[in-house]
């Protein structure tokens, strides 16, 4: 999964520490999400979505596509 968190956070002018405090997680967690080392839980992704006022799928890009039925 590809994260756009860094780009979105920077447009808000927030540091990693500020965002971590707003979300109630550590700065290391924000850094790991931004560097695609850690996929956040659904509750955390939803909190990010609420905080930035955008859908989760705009913050995290999943390149998975459903397979067409073989019929």
């Amino acid at each position: 999964m590809e994260s756009r968190l860094r780009e979105i956070r920077e447009t808000k002018g927030w540091s990693q520490g500020e965002l971590a405090r707003k979300l109630g997680v550590s700065r290391q967690t924000i850094n790991a999400v931004e560097t695609d080392k850690y996929d956040p839980s659904l509750p955390l992704a939803l909190r990010m979505s609420k905080l930035f006022g955008m859908p989760v799928c705009d913050i995290f890009i999943d390149h998975w596509q459903p397979q067409e039925d073989a019929e």
Partner: protein, 213 residues
Amino acid sequence: MTSEATAQAGKTKKMVLQMIGGGIAGGTGMIGLNHFLSLNTLGIDRLILAAIGFIYVMTGLIVLTGSLMPKMGAKMLNVSDEEDLLEQREILLGSSLMLLTFGVAQIMLVLSGDGKMFPGWAGAGAMLLSMLFGSAIWIRDRHRYDEMMMKLSLDASFICFCGLWLVLVPWGCLAMTGLSAAPSATAIVALFSGGYLLSSVVAADRVGLLAPK
């Protein structure tokens, strides 16, 4: 050189210096420990357990220093700056005390038994007390861990379990069928203790905590 390349070179330099510092401190400490406690007379399995205990003690001391003196700690530990340490001070203090007591208990265990520095009950008792102490710290601190740290702990436990399963079950099978000697009690303690240490490093690396900062 671009500013990004300069920053990266700085991070790498810091990490290399940390590694050299750790190597020198570890090597000196182990030689000192061996000198005062005559560890080389104890046999290879006890020596390995003592070395693992020493790594726990050293890690505990470094983390304790880092959490008590964040400015100095930021230079010694792989963190972005002192704010990282201040933010997690309570967790780090708890972890460092856990590491220290467990490491000291392991060294005591190595030096316990018939004809050794401590009576057998002292080493076994120290280990049991350190495990109870560690459990109490974990129960106290578990709400302070955020989701990634919880996942890291679970990952480390899982990696450790798989590693031990892969080592101990075949070893046990070979011993049962008389194809090898059975693992000694010391080897079992060393495998669990060293295995968890190694697994924690692997789990931390997987979420980028070991990347140069």
